[in-house]
Each structure stands twice: as structure tokens, then as C-alpha cells.
């Protein structure tokens, strides 16, 4: 077991680094970034000429500030472990100071094809950045050591940790509750549907579960806002706040009276809609899975044996059937950890829930790649941990499986 764990964790570390490289490379080639945003701002303003003009050296300055002029491997190691920060000094001597680590101005090459077609490509470098130029730049300690660095766009020049911590509680509460609820509701439905296969209850629950997974979540989200907020309020019924996590001022509604902003009731009312929609959508997956698994297990000999021993039906179902039916369920647990942290991008957007899913979408849309990368890195880590945990759990629930 111990050697297994050590080997697995070592492998996990390798996968983590490889995944980080791939994700980083993907974001590196993705279009956009702080410069694009400045450009867009400039263009939006109708080409403010003159006094607020953004010139080539302005852009070079901003590019250097965000390290965009460094080559990808250098940027990556600086981001991952905060290295290199300048030439290596041994005693008084500097080494590798002349090493080219980036490019201020890329060279342009015009390719002229035999068929007369032409293409301009960036190639080579006109003006390089050398290792010794890095000494004066700000640097992080590296994400491996817990330093996420600063945001480039969303919270300009302020630590990403602030951003993540401001969203984390909301995502944990929303995802935690809805995952828990959907499991708590999904499992009994699944078990019941399996035991009373083709009964009316099975049909109704199955259909409901299917509907939840049959339409994209934004549809249910907007529909819920329309029904339970806008229309309910117009009809003078008690209504649910359409979005946000907490109100900004007291409000009144029929039956419930005045609700104080920030009170538990207020937060609960704000929480109901996003949580129920999310739960509704996810029940289907769980209940289907359990139903299938139970149908598999119920006709097995040991269930029959248990029954014939005269055990109560509920105890047969729970301790004999369900226990075994839950074995494949363990593989699904791997996904819960990252889901808990990743949040629900669409639902959070629709309900203006200040969670991490919305943050990731925001980071991608506004090209804040340091934030996107920090979130991706955490996701990768949690996913890998999830896999490890589920492998270990597998041996716990099914002793026949040997860890290799």
C-alpha cells in the first residue's frame, strides 16, 4: 500500500507537470491578452489620436510588465517555480547573463510562394531580451510554492489569491449543497426505480430526471427567473430574488413581510433558485446511474440469500444490494472534488452568483490568462487528487481489486 501510494503520487506529480505545461502552452497561443484589451480600448474610443495615443514603445513597456515578451519555457518556469530571476551568480561572477530569454521586437519575414501568393510571418527576433534584464522585473515565487502571482486584467496588478478567496466560499456552498442534494435525492429515486421497475413512480421520476438533463441549464435558469421572480412579483406573490448572493437593502414581499438585507432568510432566498436548478439538472445522472447499478445487483445470489435468511427488505436493499451497487459509483467521485471547486459556469452567470465558474469564464473572455491558468492549475491538481482518492476508495469498497 505504501509503495503503491508513493509510486502513484510520483506519477501524479509527473502528470501534473505535463498537464500544466500543456495548459500553459494552450493559453500561451490563445489569442488576446492585456495588449489586445488596450488596443480594443483605443479602438473603442474612435482612435483617440494625439494626447492619449498608444505608441510602439508604450506597448513594449506594457508587454514587458506582463512578461509577454519572454519565451514560453522561460515564462513557464518563472510562473511554476519562480526561476530564473536573473543571471546565476557564483561568487562575484555572473553566468548566462547574455542568454536570450525573450524577444522585444519579433522579426518579420515575407514568404513569397512560387504561385505568387505572399504571406508575412513573424520569425526570428530583431531585439532580444537577455537573462540579465530579468533582475529588474517583478517575479512570483512560483505557483508550486503557492504564489499565484497577480491578475493582469480582472483585478489589475493585485494578487490572484484575493480574487479566488473572494469567490471560493460562494462556489463551495452552491456546489456542495447541490451535489449533496442531488446525491441524497438521486440515490433513493434510483433505488426505488430499480426495485419497483416500471411502476408509475419509476416512470414519473424517470421522466422528471430525464427532463432535467434534457435541456441546457441556461434554459432552466432563465425560465426560473421569469416564473419565480418577475412573474411572481408582478402577480403579488412571494417571489425569489432573481440573482446575486445577498441583497443590498431590505425588501418586502407578501406573506414573508420585510426581509433584512444580509439576514439568513435573505441569503437563503437568494440561494434557493440557483441551487434547485443545479440540483434538478444533476439528479438525472445520479439516479440513472444508481438505478442501472441496482438492477445489476438485485438478481445476484447474495441478495437472494440475504432475503431468504429472512432479513428485513430495507436491510437487504441497503446493506447488501446498495452497498455493492455503489462500487462503480466510486469512479464518479473523482469528478466531485474539481466540480466542487470549479463551480457551474453557466448557472453562476445566469444567476449572477459570485463564484469561481463565473470567474473562469470572465478570465477567458477578458483574456486574463494568469487568472485562467491559476484556476486551471488548481483544477488539474484537484482532479488528479480525485483520481487517486477514487482508486484508493475502490479497494476499500471492493477488496477483490488489488492495487498495482
Amino acid at each position: 500500500m505504501i509503495t503503491f501510494l508513493i509510486r502513484r503520487i510520483l506519477q501524479m506529480f509527473v502528470v501534473l507537470i505535463l498537464s500544466a505545461i500543456v495548459s500553459y502552452a494552450l493559453l500561451y497561443v490563445a489569442p488576446g491578452g492585456p495588449i489586445e484589451q488596450l488596443r480594443a480600448k483605443q479602438q473603442q474610443q474612435g482612435g483617440q489620436q494625439g494626447a492619449e495615443a498608444i505608441r510602439a514603445d508604450d506597448i513594449a513597456r506594457i508587454i514587458a510588465r506582463f512578461e509577454l515578451d519572454l519565451y514560453m519555457p522561460v515564462r513557464f518556469t518563472r510562473w511554476l517555480i519562480g526561476f530564473p530571476r536573473g543571471p546565476i551568480t557564483i561568487g562575484d561572477r555572473e553566468f548566462f547573463g547574455d542568454l536570450e530569454v525573450g524577444c522585444k521586437t519579433p522579426g518579420l519575414v515575407r514568404l513569397r510562394y512560387p504561385d505568387g501568393r505572399e504571406e508575412l510571418v513573424e520569425e526570428g527576433c530583431q531585439e532580444a531580451v537577455y537573462l540579465r534584464d530579468l533582475t529588474t522585473r517583478r517575479a512570483t515565487n512560483g505557483i508550486l510554492f503557492g504564489d499565484f502571482g497577480v491578475s493582469q486584467v480582472i483585478l489589475r496588478d493585485r494578487p490572484i489569491t484575493t480574487l479566488i478567496m473572494s469567490r471560493l466560499p460562494y462556489t463551495l456552498v452552491l456546489m456542495g449543497t447541490s451535489i449533496l442534494l442531488s446525491i441524497l435525492i438521486g440515490i433513493p429515486i434510483g433505488v426505488y426505480s430499480a426495485v419497483r421497475q416500471y411502476s408509475r413512480f419509476d416512470t414519473i421520476m424517470t421522466t422528471l430526471a430525464f427532463i432535467g438533463s434534457s435541456l441546457p441549464s441556461f434554459f432552466f435558469g432563465i425560465l426560473a427567473i421569469l416564473l419565480f421572480s418577475v412573474l411572481a412579483q408582478q402577480a403579488n406573490l412571494p417571489y425569489l430574488p432573481s440573482g446575486d448572493a445577498v441583497a443590498n437593502r431590505n425588501y418586502t414581499m407578501p406573506v414573508l413581510g420585510t426581509i433584512r438585507a444580509g439576514s439568513f432568510l435573505d441569503m437563503f432566498l437568494h440561494f434557493i433558485m440557483p441551487c434547485s436548478v443545479l440540483t434538478f439538472i444533476n439528479i438525472a445522472g445520479w439516479s440513472r446511474f444508481i438505478r442501472g447499478s441496482m438492477l445489476e445487483v438485485l438478481p445476484q445470489d447474495y441478495v437472494r440469500t440475504a432475503r431468504s435468511k429472512g432479513l428485513r427488505e430495507s436491510s437487504v436493499l441497503i446493506s447488501h444490494a446498495l452497498r455493492n451497487a455503489l462500487i462503480p459509483f466510486v469512479t464518479l467521485l473523482a469528478g466531485i472534488l474539481p466540480a466542487l471547486f470549479g463551480g457551474a459556469i453557466i448557472i453562476e452567470s445566469v444567476f449572477n452568483w459570485p463564484g469561481l465558474g463565473r470567474l473562469l469564464l470572465d478570465a477567458l473572455n477578458r483574456n486574463d490568462y494568469t487568472v485562467a491558468m491559476a484556476l486551471t492549475f488548481i483544477q488539474i491538481l484537484l482532479l488528479l487528487i480525485g483520481y487517486l482518492l477514487s482508486d484508493i476508495l475502490y479497494t476499500v469498497v471492493d477488496p477483490r481489486i488489488k492495487l498495482t
Partner: protein, 650 residues
């Protein structure tokens, strides 16, 4: 960038290992290194569009192919011909486009959205002596016939005699609006005139990227919006030296590659003088050429809707000024003092200098400071300045000065240079001249800003000279993270007369049209930070990440910031030391709601009081307004969509 290329290949391999081949260059490719020239004036290698006659169908005469040849130097066989461009303008039914986007408006309301020049007709710089392009497919078809694009019977795409179809590539953003407008234009052009549009919609980061899409002129037709300003500017958009090419490192925004000397000189002259009558004259010349050559068809002005609950009093909305312009006057009818406003994006930082979000910088200017407003395409100073300094009221003077070799002047390229033979400058008559020797006359602008006495920070400390000096020092430091230092570099000196009055003198030749609004700003130099240091002593490179600056700056305006809940809201309170006295709204919350449907739902359920972005929900808001549930102000905004035509092959 070698690595980037290799990486791209790698990704493709990772994604689709069984793809047959990658787009690698073929054999026998001729490689030429392009010399990027960043410092001097751009090498304009495009052909001048000559206006040979007064007729509407001026023929383009391409001059000899330029030295480099090929990309961006070959006249587009279709759009290089002014007749095709004019035909496109005649074949597009702009009212129908507006109808597709705003089906819920009346015909009159849509008519009000039409725009024929690069400024709307209610702008002070608008001239009516221009060529207009009403929807007239017959005229369009005649122009196409004349240009050699024949209709071979049964409608459909037109062909030239050599069999080339009249098919044009169109690039625009991938937003729903851009796609819809593109779809409508595509159908109009093919049905009305037999012009085939091949549409591509790209993500914004590609479309407006620094080295992709429009900026590298990788399009034939494109459509996006400019946001109109009180100052029409326009020289970076339409002057000959603003054509982005590889040789000038893609600087400039004349994406059409349009170089009409008359128009170019007029737009430069209009921006080189500060006298409004002269500017209007030059803008008129420009607009005449601009519309005649038809390189960029103004499509329509974007319709803007601002809505507030019935409880809100004294709120104003305008095309060129955000609703925050009169934040100090807001009231709630029921006498309560807690107001909530939706904003569609969260500030990136509360330090206006480095913020890339235009709107948040603007909002903060009015809540935490007392900005200069820009109602009705013009500037006003209702607040802490005693008056808006202008040439007309004597707050600014533009002196003719003599300069000789060795003096620092502002060059035509927009840089501070030492005057030496060969330097190009604008002289006092507004003409561009190359300095050779002796003395020449140039204009030197100085502007005096005088704020009212008794201006205080929220902690009660008065605003003093040291605060302005600190702003001057920090804002002009290259390490501050500030994007543009142009304004700083163009200043010759700043002289303080008192704690409230200072005069900015610019270098000879620096003639900023918006001089009235370029004050210094101020930072509370007395403020003591949480770590015990004084703000004035903090090194500039720490400012961007300083909580006292980036997250909770001190206010001199009607409100002071109490709390910024990240990802959710900014909470303000009335500033007791505001010079107009404490405002009636005691708590003001800016709630971040990016999703429009959500924001409108919150307005309707009473969770928020004002939204100034209705987006796709405009119709719902207007309907609710008609039913009297909310108050609505609507108007043509300063944002206007246009169709740019690239004269050269991408």
C-alpha cells in the same frame, strides 16, 4: 516566435493525430526579411486614390506597383474600384438593418439612428455638404455594370467577363449582433445587386487583436463600431500616414488603406488647430472627400436605453455622458437614502491611471472626484473647476513663439524632439513644414486650471499643491504602468500660482484639441498608509498594487468608497466633506451584474434602481416603460457602426 509556431503544430498534433498534413509552407519559398521601422514616419506604400473628376464615379488609377509588391500593395480588383464601393453603399438598405436590430422601434425612431458621415448630424463638426447614399439598388446595379460586373440573366452572383465572381470576404466579430447584421447585409447584397458576401465571424480577441484581424488589415469588408467623442479627431483613422503596414509595425487605424491627399491634409489641419471655426471648415472638406470616396460606410447609430425605477429623481442620460455625470443630484422620491445601480463589469482597479475599463474609470471620476462632463458632444465643467479653461474665455492661450535649432518642440510624429534640420513640425499657420535652418514660428499652448477654494479630501484635509505635484510625478513615470505618456512628454512646464491654480504649458507644436480637460489630477499626498508610510514616499512601482490606491482611494467627490466586495459590489457612502455639502443618498451601491437579462429582472423586481445597459433586453425595458412600471430614457448613442472597405488585397 519560433517556439510559438512549433507549439501551434504540436497542438494540432495533440488534437488530431490523424490529420493528414499541417499547413506548412511549400517548397521554393522566397524569404525576405521585412525591416520594421518604428521611429520615423511610416513608409506609406499604398497607392493614392485619385479623385480625377467631380463625378460620383471617379475612376481609380493605380500608379505603378510599389517596390515590395504583393500583400497590401495590390489594389483590390473589386473594392479598389470606387464604383464597386459606391454600389455596395447604394445596395445596402441601412434602415432595414436598423429594423432587423431594433424591430420594436417606430420608423421615425429608426430614421433618427441613421448616420451619413463620421459624426452624427447633431455634432458640431457635422457638414451637410456630403455625398449621401440612400438605398437605391438600381443606381448600385448601374455602377456595377459600368465597372464590368455583369448580371448574366437570372439574378444571382455577378461575374466579370473573365469569369471572376463578384464575391467579397467579410470579417466581423462573433457576437450575436454582428452575426445578425452580417446575415442581413449578406442577403441584401446578393438579392439587391448580385454581390456575394462570404462571412467570417471571429472572437473579439482575434478580430481586434494586435497582430490579427482588422489591425493587420486581414479583411476585404469589415464592420464594427466606433464610439463618438465630443472631439471628432479622426486623424488616426483617415490620414495617409496612419495606414497599418508591416513596415510601420502595424501602427495606425486607417484599416482601409485609404490615402486621399485632400482628405488627409484636411483631417490633419482640423486636428492641428484649436480654433473651432477653422476646425469646422477643415472637417467639412474632409467629410466631402470621405463620403465621395466611400471607403467606410456609416451604417447606423446604436440605440441606447437607460432605465430607472419610478422612485428615482434627477437622473440624466446622454449620448456622450454616462448617467454618473450628475450623481450628486440624485434623489429617491420616497425619501429613502439607499440607492443601487447595476454596472455590467467589475472595475479592474480603482486606480484610474492604469484601468483598462473605460466605464469604471469614468464612473469613479464622478463618484470619487468631480469630473468634467461631456453632455451633447461638448465639454462642461459644472464642478470643482471655477470654469472650463478655453481659448474663448481666456483660460487658455495659444501664443505664437519663435523656435530655433536646439529647442525642444513637438514633432509631427507626436514626439518631443530637439529641433534640427530635417525635423518635421507643424508651424503656426497649421502647415506641416520641414525645419531647415533659422527660426520658425510655432504655436505654444498654455492652459490654466483653477479649482474652487475649499476643496477637501474625504478625511477633511484640503487639496493642496503637493497633491497635484504628486499626481504629476506619478502619472508621468514610465514605471507606473500608465499606458500612454504622450501627454506628459508634450508638457514644457507646470507652474503653480497657489494651492488652487496651476498653468500647464505645452511644447511648441503640441496642439491638443481637448486641452480643456487635460488637468493634472491629484493624489492625497498627506495620506498615511497602513504600514505607516506616507503616500508621497511610496515608490512608483508599488502604486499599482497598493490597497490604498487600487482598492480604496480617497475621495473628493460626492461619495466615498466604504467597501469593495470582490465579484459582487462596490459600496459608497455620502462624503461629509464634499464641497457642495453632503448628498441626500447616504448609501450608494454599484452592483456588478454582467448578464443583461439578470439586470433587467432585478430592475423589474425592484432590487436595483438604475441600469444604463439594456442590451438584448431593450424591448422588455421599453415595454415596461410604456406600461409605466419604470422610467425609460432612450436616444441614439454615440456608438456608430460602419462598414470598412479595404482598398488593397489582404
Amino acid at each position: 516566435m519560433q517556439t510559438q509556431r512549433i507549439l501551434k503544430r504540436l497542438i494540432v498534433l495533440v488534437l488530431a493525430p490523424f490529420l493528414l498534413a499541417c499547413g506548412s509552407p511549400q517548397a521554393q519559398v522566397v524569404r525576405e526579411t521585412v525591416i520594421v521601422n518604428q521611429t520615423s514616419a511610416p513608409v506609406v506604400q499604398t497607392v493614392i486614390v485619385e479623385a480625377t473628376s467631380e463625378s460620383d464615379t471617379a475612376q481609380v488609377e493605380p500608379t505603378a506597383a510599389s517596390s515590395t509588391g504583393g500583400k497590401l500593395t495590390q489594389l483590390n480588383p473589386t473594392l479598389g474600384d470606387v464604383r464597386v464601393r459606391q454600389a455596395i453603399a447604394y445596395c445596402i438598405d441601412r434602415l432595414e438593418i436598423a429594423k432587423a436590430r431594433y424591430p420594436f422601434l417606430s420608423d421615425e425612431e429608426r430614421q433618427a439612428l441613421m448616420i451619413d458621415s463620421f459624426v452624427p448630424s447633431n455634432h458640431w463638426a457635422y457638414s451637410d455638404d456630403i455625398t449621401k447614399y440612400p438605398f437605391d439598388p438600381e443606381k448600385g446595379k448601374a455602377l456595377l455594370e459600368e465597372a464590368g460586373w455583369k448580371d448574366n440573366g437570372g439574378g444571382g452572383v455577378r461575374y466579370r467577363d473573365d469569369g471572376t465572381p463578384l464575391s467579397i470576404k467579410f470579417l466581423s466579430a462573433d457576437t450575436a449582433t454582428s452575426q445578425n447584421i452580417g446575415a442581413v447585409m449578406e442577403q441584401q447584397l446578393i438579392n439587391n445587386c448580385g454581390i456575394q458576401l462570404i462571412r467570417t465571424h471571429a472572437p473579439g480577441s482575434y478580430f481586434l487583436g494586435a497582430r490579427t484581424g482588422v489591425q493587420v488589415r486581414d479583411f476585404e469588408l469589415t464592420s464594427f463600431s466606433w464610439v463618438g467623442q465630443p472631439d471628432p479627431s479622426g486623424s488616426t483613422l483617415y490620414a495617409c500616414n496612419q495606414i497599418p503596414t508591416p513596415e510601420n509595425n502595424w501602427e495606425g487605424q486607417n484599416f482601409m488603406g485609404w490615402c486621399n491627399p485632400t482628405a488627409s491634409n484636411a483631417i490633419l489641419a482640423a486636428n492641428n488647430t484649436l480654433v473651432r471655426e477653422e476646425r469646422i471648415k477643415q472637417f467639412a472638406i474632409f467629410q466631402k472627400e470621405f463620403t465621395k470616396d466611400m471607403v467606410s460606410l456609416p451604417l447606423y447609430q446604436v440605440f441606447d436605453v437607460v432605465a430607472a425605477s419610478n422612485n428615482v429623481e434627477n437622473f440624466k442620460a446622454d449620448a456622450t455622458q454616462t448617467i454618473f455625470g450628475n450623481a450628486y443630484e440624485w434623489r429617491l422620491k420616497d425619501g429613502s437614502d439607499n440607492m443601487i445601480i447595476a454596472i455590467n463589469s467589475e472595475p479592474d482597479t480603482l486606480w484610474g491611471l492604469i484601468s483598462a475599463e473605460i466605464t469604471t474609470a469614468d464612473i469613479l471620476a464622478f463618484l470619487l472626484g468631480d469630473g468634467i462632463t461631456s453632455y451633447d458632444y461638448d465639454y462642461q465643467a459644472p464642478g470643482s473647476l471655477t470654469r472650463l479653461p478655453t481659448l474663448e474665455n481666456g483660460g487658455a492661450v495659444n501664443n505664437e513663439v519663435e523656435v530655433t535649432e536646439g529647442d525642444t518642440v513637438w514633432s509631427i510624429d507626436g514626439e518631443a524632439v530637439t529641433l534640427a534640420p530635417g525635423v518635421e513640425v507643424v508651424d503656426s499657420t497649421g502647415q506641416a513644414v520641414t525645419y531647415e535652418s533659422g527660426t520658425i514660428k510655432m504655436n505654444q499652448l498654455s492652459v490654466t486650471f483653477e479649482s474652487i477654494p475649499g476643496l477637501k479630501w474625504e478625511d477633511g484635509e484640503p487639496v493642496v499643491q503637493a497633491d497635484y505635484e504628486l499626481a504629476l510625478k506619478i502619472n508621468c513615470d514610465p514605471n507606473s504602468g500608465s499606458v500612454s505618456l504622450t501627454l506628459c512628454e508634450s508638457r514644457a512646464s507646470v507652474d503653480f500660482a497657489s494651492d488652487t491654480t496651476y498653468t500647464i504649458t505645452y511644447l511648441p507644436g503640441a496642439q491638443w484639441a481637448n486641452y480643456s480637460v487635460y488637468g493634472l489630477g491629484a493624489y492625497p499626498s498627506h495620506q498615511v498608509l497602513s504600514d505607516g508610510r506616507k503616500l508621497a514616499d511610496v515608490p512608483v512601482n508599488e502604486w499599482a498594487s497598493l490597497p490604498e490606491i487600487a482598492e480604496k482611494p480617497l475621495s473628493t467627490g460626492p461619495y466615498k468608497l466604504v467597501e469593495w466586495v470582490k465579484g459582487q459590489k462596490l459600496v459608497f457612502e455620502a462624503n461629509p466633506n464634499y464641497y457642495r455639502g453632503e448628498v441626500p443618498i447616504k448609501t450608494l451601491t454599484l452592483q456588478v451584474i454582467p448578464d443583461t437579462t439578470q439586470a433587467v429582472a432585478q430592475l423589474m423586481t425592484g432590487s436595483i434602481d438604475i441600469i444604463d445597459y439594456a442590451g438584448t433586453e431593450q424591448e422588455a425595458v421599453l415595454n415596461a416603460g410604456k406600461e409605466g412600471k419604470i422610467q425609460v430614457i432612450s436616444f441614439p448613442s454615440a456608438t456608430w457602426a460602419h462598414l470598412d472597405m479595404n482598398l488593397y488585397l489582404p
